[in-house]
Symmetry: C2
């Protein structure tokens, strides 16, 4: 049986476009650092051992994509430098990062558990991503998620 | 001020480990296809134009990582072939995919909107990922997400 998805074009797929920004292992690692308050090139290098040129390229791409912005700072006696901060577009990646962390914790963690967790600022309780529908139901099984053509769906020629 | 994150090791980071599986643009595109019911090599090729060797490699990696499993099938008169189906580990990637789709829809969509949406099987209402804490609060601003060392956090040497 021919899958109905084959009738639809993927030219304007927003998952593919998002992955043009996020789809490289080191990119999410760089974002993890900034989300954790590590904002300076040398600090990122120290903690992650990302090759210098790779880190330079990933930061430049994330600035160009307006996920990060450069903020000048100057240590006493040193030259002007820049640190990297999340824009609103970047901050909106928290659900992506938490969803990846949650899956990684479930399937890739060492026996002692995850080295990182996220909590709610107001109450300190641990955060999770949940799938909920517009009618207010929480999705309890991934088999209850059904893909559908969206408003921008185009038939394939 | 030195970021406190620098005191903690990233050796056992589960985001980095998850990204070893997911961190390549085509990998999520392949998963999108399977989540949309496109399970056969030739159908994926037809719709995505992923280079043959790249698709072969991504599928093999996802099977090795137990995100996909191979299921044999035989069309009348043809040789035995395999299609690809999500394992439970793979199905648990729905929240990651929906979170990426949601961010992509917000920042990368064409004016007519997203070509793809996801709905709840029970009621047909559209799905979204939300961040909620263990105390039941929904996180309304990404600035209310605070990273913390988890149970497996290790001090850096």
């Amino acid at each position: 049986m021919r899958p109905t998805a084959l009738d639809w074009s993927i030219d304007n797929c927003t998952i593919a476009r998002a992955m043009e920004v996020l789809g490289e292992r080191w990119t999410l690692v760089v974002l993890r650092e900034v989300f954790n308050g590590v904002r300076r090139f040398d600090d990122m290098r120290e903690r992650t051992n990302i090759p210098r040129q790779v880190l330079t390229n990933r930061l430049a791409m994330l600035v160009e994509q307006q996920v990060l912005r450069r903020e000048p700072y100057r240590e006493p006696g040193a030259r002007l430098r820049h640190e990297y901060r999340l824009t609103d577009k970047g901050l909106d990646l928290w659900p992506v990062l938490v969803a990846i962390l949650q899956w990684g914790d479930r399937y890739c963690a060492d026996p002692e558990g995850s080295p990182l967790t996220t909590v709610h600022r107001g109450c300190g309780a641990e955060l999770r991503t949940t799938l909920r529908c517009a009618a207010g139901h929480e999705v309890t099984s991934p088999r209850d998620v059904i893909p559908r053509p969206g408003p921008g769906a185009r038939r394939r020629a």
